[in-house]
Amino acid sequence: MPLLDVIDLKTHFRTDDGIVHAVDGVSFRVDKGKTLAIVGESGSGKSVTCMTIMGLNDRRSTTSEGQALFKDRDLLQLPPDEMRKVRGSEISMIFQDPMTSLNPVYTIGNQLREAVMLHENVSKQVANRRALEMLKAVAIPRAETRLGDYPHQFSGGMRQRVMIAMALINNPDLLIADEPTTALDVTTQAQILKLMNQLRRDFDSAIILVTHDLGVVAETADDVLVMYAAKAAEVGGYEDLFYRPEHPYTWGLLNSLPRLAAEGADLKPIPGTPPSLLRPPSGCRFHLRCPYVFEPCIPEVPELLPVSDDDPDHKVACHLAHDFREREAHDLLHDLMAEQR
């Protein structure tokens, strides 16, 4: 049984220009101890999916439908005070920008303690001890003295470590990390990814990792969900996605990476730009940019279906025939993946 089972999630925002369908029928599941990566370009709805699960959208302008089943409860139906108990103890979240997600006027120790004392009836001393343990676990040097420091006294990488410490301090079952390393340099990113992987093993928590970087996905994910224009384009295990991708959008993403391009060759970008979610295209949302577009793509929305009977967990939303996709993916990506740099 999965830890989190999201079924047909829909989130709509009311704006002055009309209704934005930011998430439009997305389903996925996260198993215990596994990492699910959600990949997509900006505006594809990956962050909104996480915010909806956490119940952090503005209630006045947002409507959400569908289900997010977590330990036999539907998170979308929980009353606000119940949800507050879940947030930060059973499910916690790390945000993209470590510079703005900590409160600048309280010490790190104070903020870490608060996270413990909100959820458990413990003394300040106990909370302090936990805070110290956690800071050590995320490898902050001289943790004892740094508890009394303010966020501005830490560097970006250190602040992200503090955020991770705060997210994990109540030993959550699920950690949602929304672009946790995007604002960081590569060497710091390597440190943080290593830390997250190690902590996931130590604490046996599941992770939803939102990212636009396929390199990060290749390094850490067990399962991958590719989102395009508020819908799931493809979902499967990491090997399916990198070695047997079936959606033309996934091919486009892989082909756009400079790393995988042959020396001196031009990149093969996806033409055009992602569509507006105010007025999304009819049928398959990718049809305006897809080189393989044919008649059914324009009127008919493709369903997310298993690619074949022997691989029920690898699903794709595309009208093209499975045999054709398999051949095409093989031809397109053969050179890319053979290379071992």
């Binding site: 370009e41 900006s42 040097p141 560097s155 990488g157 250190m158 340099d185 590569v186 060497t187 710091t188 990113q189 390597a190 440190q191 990814l193 290593k194 636009h212 970087d213 396929l214 390199g215 990060v216 996905v217 290749a218 390094e219 990491y238 090997e239 990198f242 486009g252 993403l253 892989l254 082909n255 756009s256 990476l257 400079p258 790393r259 995988l260 391009a261 031009d266 990149l267 093969k268 970008p269 996806i270 033409p271 730009t273 992602p274 993946m337 290379e339 071992q340 740099r341």
Partner: protein
């Protein structure tokens, strides 16, 4: 691609920003050594990539080259002319030959001006034609960078990020410069759009015989577009070489660590390798470490050498320069061999 003649030459470039205290009597209490002795040359028609982490001085260097900042030391030569301290008319003339593409396509275009005015501004400033001619030229430029010439009268907010960056490129191209300095031109864009802009830059280079200084923190992007690459750390160049030399056979431990920190979008390769993960953060450029600036984080640190004597940038291979006392012998390297190697070398 290059014909060997340096278009831009930088010698010992230095840019220190003073840190002052006091309101009326300002007293210098320290210096941010953003760029601290960089020597480079860029040949005509080539692309020099510059990589490094935030705070290593790459953008400050770009701004010094463009003379948006005046260097505090060293020399900048452009086509054989010393432009380090020139002002007024002389600077105005040089500015026609060098242009810049900025990182943030949202902040670098004036939201109150129409695209035509933005792209045509440099043409107007340099009096390169009548209004009608400028309009025609701008429409041509929009077409060259892949935008619809009819969008001449639109405002920046009507365009997506990638399209805005195309406007930024058209603006840089307008006066037919010889050198374009690109400061993180694709880091704000999504991968699929990033690839479009990279292809565009490459095509324009061939069409208009351009020379690029291409600054980015993404090593894969830099490799893709550059002929030669310089790696910077805390205001200094630590390694310089052509793409194959640097990426297949890095010599400086920092370059090695940087390369091995880049996530590889190929799970089997990514999961089987053992990356060198550096400890700690980049130190502050206000009080940089003595001698070799990388020594507090370096896996091959040798007391008595690295913290005493500053390594100079020396040629190791043809055109492959490195500033390190104990360069890497092989690549890839395991953590153990990394340290053993340095002991053996000492």
């Amino acid at each position: 691609m290059s014909n060997g003649e340096p278009l831009l030459q930088i010698e010992d470039l230095e840019k220190h920003f003073p840190i002052t205290r006091g309101i009326i009597f300002q007293k210098e209490i320290g210096r941010v050594r953003a760029v601290d002795g960089v020597s480079l040359h860029v040949n005509k028609g080539e692309t020099l990539g510059v990589v490094g982490e935030s705070g290593c001085g790459k953008s400050t260097m770009a701004r010094c080259i463009m003379r948006l900042l005046t260097p505090t030391g060293g020399r900048i030569m452009f086509e054989g002319q010393d432009i380090t301290t020139i002002r007024g008319d002389a600077l105005f003339k040089v500015r026609r030959d060098m242009m810049m593409v900025f990182q943030d396509p949202y902040a670098s275009l004036n939201p109150r001006k129409r695209v035509g005015a933005i792209v045509g501004e440099a043409l107007e400033v340099h009096k390169m034609g009548t209004d009608a001619e400028i309009k025609r030229k701008v429409q041509e430029l929009l077409d060259v960078v892949g935008l619809n010439p009819e969008h001449y009268n639109r405002f920046p907010h009507e365009f997506s990020g990638g399209q805005r960056q195309r406007i930024g490129v058209a603006r840089a191209l307008a006066v037919r410069p010889k050198l374009i300095v690109c400061d993180e031109p694709v880091s704000a864009l999504d991968v699929s759009v990033q690839a479009q802009i990279l292809n565009l830059l490459k095509r324009l280079q061939n069409e208009f015989d351009l020379t690029y200084v291409f600054i980015a923190h993404d090593l894969d992007v830099v490799r893709h577009i550059s002929d030669r690459v310089a790696v910077m750390y805390l205001g200094k160049v630590v390694e310089l070489g052509d793409g194959a030399q640097l990426y297949n056979r890095p010599l400086h431990p920092y370059a090695g660590a940087l390369l091995s920190a880049v996530p590889i979008p190929n799970p089997n390769v990514a999961r089987s390798r053992k990356p060198i993960v550096l400890e700690g953060d980049v130190p502050s450029p206000i009080n940089p470490p003595s001698a070799c600036r990388f020594h507090p984080r370096c896996p091959r640190f040798q007391q008595g050498t690295c913290d005493v004597e500053e390594p100079l940038l020396t040629e190791h291979d043809r055109g492959h320069q490195v500033a390190c006392h104990f360069p890497l012998e092989t690549w890839p390297m395991s953590d153990l061999r990394l340290e053993q190697g340095s002991v053996a070398a000492s």
